[in-house]
């Protein structure tokens, strides 16, 4: 999973997008293309604007300036519901609804859209196998299952409607190292198999390198560099890139990716 793959046309485009918050964190005018059927990783230290960029792409917040285009059509409130059915979203702690069982969480949207029962259960079965989740776990409530299992359920829920786009906001951020490594492997396998357009947010360079085709490094609301890990190491755009790469490598025991 390296940058060796041929580039494809962008499915999602941020054109001159900026967003300012009272609290300080902001996104300065950025342009960004998300390639179809590739995994793009938004990378950077806390407060760099990577989560803001993700929320803008999901339409959870609206940009102050610029446009977000999905297949060249602007993302607006009038299309929001339709568009969201084509997007899956996984947040850091899973965002599972505590009043529903894991299974009910997964089935929620399909049931709301009145899918036939058979289709729902087939899809759930498929996804459970994909994410390696036993049936017994699906019968439980979110507060009865582990963090790693929660993320697997959240992934199932996000994939239920077979969306074109999958967004993950630090999906592994709250997990202990062993579970995290496990899930990283599984995510890589799942992304590979599904060939979906994935946008993943993380502050972990190794994770980004392991999962992503394209890495986008942000600092203080600006895109510093886009490319592969090799690009970052061999042709750093500025000293911050080098600092960021070095800082992370110091804690990695393995060889550079």
């Amino acid at each position: 999973m390296t940058s060796a793959m041929p580039s494809t046309t962008p499915i999602l485009r941020l054109a001159g997008v900026s967003k300012r918050f009272d609290a300080g964190a902001a996104l300065h005018t950025i342009d960004l293309e998300i390639a179809t059927a590739r995994t793009t990783v938004l990378l950077g230290p806390s407060g760099c604007g990577k989560t803001t960029a993700l929320r803008l792409m999901l339409g959870l917040i609206a940009p102050d300036t610029g446009q977000i285009l999905l297949r060249d059509l602007p993302l607006g409130p009038e299309r929001a519901l339709q568009v969201r059915h084509a997007m899956g979203y996984v947040v850091q702690d899973g965002g599972l609804f505590p009043h529903l069982t894991a299974l009910e969480n997964v089935r929620l949207m399909a049931r709301y859209l009145a899918w036939p029962e058979l289709r729902i259960s087939q899809r759930v079965q498929e996804l459970a196998e994909l994410v390696h989740l036993p049936d017994a776990t699906l019968a439980r409530y979110p507060n009865q299952i582990s963090g790693g299992q929660k993320q697997r359920v959240a992934l199932m829920r996000a994939l239920m409607l077979d969306p074109e786009l999958l967004f993950l906001d630090e999906p592994l951020g709250a997990l202990d190292p062993l579970v995290r490594a496990d899930l990283q492997e599984d995510l890589a396998r799942i992304f590979e198999r599904l060939q979906k357009t994935v946008v993943l947010v993380t502050h972990d360079l190794a994770e980004a390198a392991f999962l992503g085709h394209v890495l986008v490094l942000l600092q203080d609301g600006r895109i510093v560099q886009q490319g592969s890990v090799q690009d970052f190491m061999e042709h750093p755009a500025d000293p911050f890139v080098t600092r960021f790469v070095r800082a992370q490598r110091r804690f990695e025991s393995g060889s550079p990716p």
């Binding site: 339709q82 609804f97 409530y141």
Partner: protein, 511 residues
């Protein structure tokens, strides 16, 4: 959304009001205030009307002059006993002052009738007794001193007076009385009324103030001295009635009222009060016996069994609480939802229901009489209003307390707003909403006892009758079931929590 809700509420209230007004139109409604004499007089009227074939009911023990008068003028009752002094002092005081006539004697009968008629109210001639202040001695002591009039007290400066604190301080009380009669007594002390009666009996004091028809006059063998200089205002008992009762029930309805004119003297009223208050004979029995003996009217008074009475009271109570609570839930949950989704409007909504909560219950009840009359409807409306705050506040808090990660997850799934509310937000807020409904219900069970003051029945009826008759067993007959009911409601909601609150949200579900 909120506008249509308000419209629905207004419609519901209108229907409720129209429904009850229609149901009550055929029954002549006699009311009394919350003291024994008033209840007995109203009972006499009710039974007398019934004896002529008119369907009549007695709404006993309503909470105060202003309330009963408003109910009469507003048309939710038809007849009630009143005193001329009270009429001039409280009810028509402004008009009477304008007439420059503070003393009832100075007001012409024609003026009074005209003023009442302007309100659509008629008045009978006095029933025969004047329930006013008097100075009383024990009969034995009065005989030894050989006095029967207040003016004769002048010759006995050594007498020790024990007067109620209220009488001591009233403008028309002791100081004015002393001046008017030139009373020389200097040994005068303020006492609690009940203590004064006992002190009289034991000889600790020689004289006290009393009301001329007090039951205690008979119990303690007292002699009210006659007010020979006519110092005290007259409180002649009369019956007030709506002038339209003649049109609605025929001439006979007013004729029956007139049959009581001049038929009850002070001694007889004392006896009636004493049998109800001291001998604990039910007022309906007291009234029936009087009608039988004095007017030769056989009336069908019936005393329901204790258990069936209790059950009826509990049923009335549950009806008040249940209907008001359901209506409150129907309005308060949507209001809470609106408040949570529109923070600025929410502040206004919360402020309004908060203010409603601070209104004193009795004030609210009186305020609602012109709108809803008396009885079940205003009681339900009041309980409904009091239930709003806990439910609105908890719904609002429950929805606002949903973590933003969950809200965004739901949003990102592409659930429309309505489905999000129904499938995600309300279930997540359900523990708090239910807690709000529970506290509203428990408070309602207690507050509903006040419904008895506006004729709504319920467990407040025995409580207030018990207070009036100084009968603690009667008080307990209302208070104990009311407390048990509150506990039962609490328990019921704990069961409801198990059903309504999703399993994943219960504290016991953690592994």
């Amino acid at each position: 959304m909120n506008r249509s809700l308000l419209a629905a509420l207004a419609l519901a209230l209108f229907l409720l009001r129209a429904g009850t007004a229609h149901a009550e139109a055929k029954t002549l409604r006699v009311a009394s205030k919350a003291f024994t004499e008033s209840v007995i007089l109203a009972e006499l009227v009710t039974q007398l009307e019934r004896s002529t074939g008119i369907e009549a009911e007695h709404r006993a023990g309503l909470g105060g002059t202003r309330l009963v008068w408003n109910a009469l003028v507003g048309g939710s009752i038809d007849v009630y006993p009143e005193y001329t002094g009270t009429l001039l002092d409280e009810v028509l005081s402004e008009a009477a002052h304008r007439e420059n006539a503070v003393r009832p004697e100075a007001v012409s009968k024609a003026w009074l009738e005209q003023t009442l008629a302007a309100h659509g109210v008629g008045m009978t001639a006095p029933l025969g007794f004047n329930n006013t202040y008097a100075i009383g001695l024990t009969v034995a002591r009065a005989r030894i001193l050989n006095i029967s009039r207040i003016s004769e007290l002048v010759q006995h400066p050594e007498l020790h007076f024990g007067l109620s604190n209220e009488f001591m301080s009233r403008r028309d009380g002791w100081p004015a009385l002393q001046k008017r009669y030139g009373l020389p007594q200097s040994n005068v002390q303020g006492l609690d009324h009940d203590l004064a009666y006992r002190a009289l009996q034991s000889g600790g004091i020689d004289a006290t103030d009393l009301y001329t028809t007090d039951a205690e006059i008979r119990r303690y063998g007292l002699l009210p001295l006659s007010d020979d200089l006519q110092f005290f205002k007259r409180y002649d008992a009369v019956l007030l009635y709506r002038l339209d009762i003649e049109a609605r029930w025929g001439n006979g309805a007013v004729q029956s009222l007139r049959r009581l004119e001049g038929r009850i003297n002070a001694e007889q009223m004392i006896a009636l009060n004493a049998s109800a208050k001291l001998d604990r004979v039910p007022e309906s029995r007291v009234a029936a016996d009087f009608l039988q003996q004095r007017l030769g009217v056989a009336s069908d008074h019936h005393q329901a069994g204790a258990l069936s009475t209790l059950l009826a009271r509990v049923a009335e109570h549950l009806f008040l609480v249940g209907v008001s609570l359901l209506a409150a839930i129907a309005l308060a949950v949507p209001l809470g939802v609106i408040a949570a989704h529109r923070p600025r409007l929410g502040q206004v909504v919360l402020a309004i229901v908060g203010v409603v909560q601070t209104l004193p219950t009795l004030a609210l009840l009186v305020f609602m009489i012109p709108l809803f009359g008396i009885g079940t409807v205003p009681a339900i409306v009041a309980l409904f209003l009091y239930s709003l705050l806990p439910i609105v506040r908890n719904t609002h808090a429950g929805l606002c307390g949903i973590p933003s990660a969950l809200r965004e997850s739901a949003l990102a799934l592409g659930l429309p707003r309505g489905a999000m509310l129904r499938l995600i937000e309300l279930p997540l807020a359900s523990p708090l909403i239910l807690a709000g409904i529970k506290s509203a219900a428990v408070i309602n069970v207690g507050t509903a006892t006040l419904g008895a003051l506006i004729g709504a029945g319920g467990l407040g009826q025995p409580i207030f009758t018990g207070i009036r008759l100084d009968n603690s067993s009667l008080i307990l007959q209302g208070a104990i079931p009311a407390s048990l009911l509150a506990l039962a409601v609490q328990g019921l909601f704990e069961i409801a929590e198990r059903i309504v609150v999703p399993r994943g949200l219960r504290s016991g579900a953690q592994q």
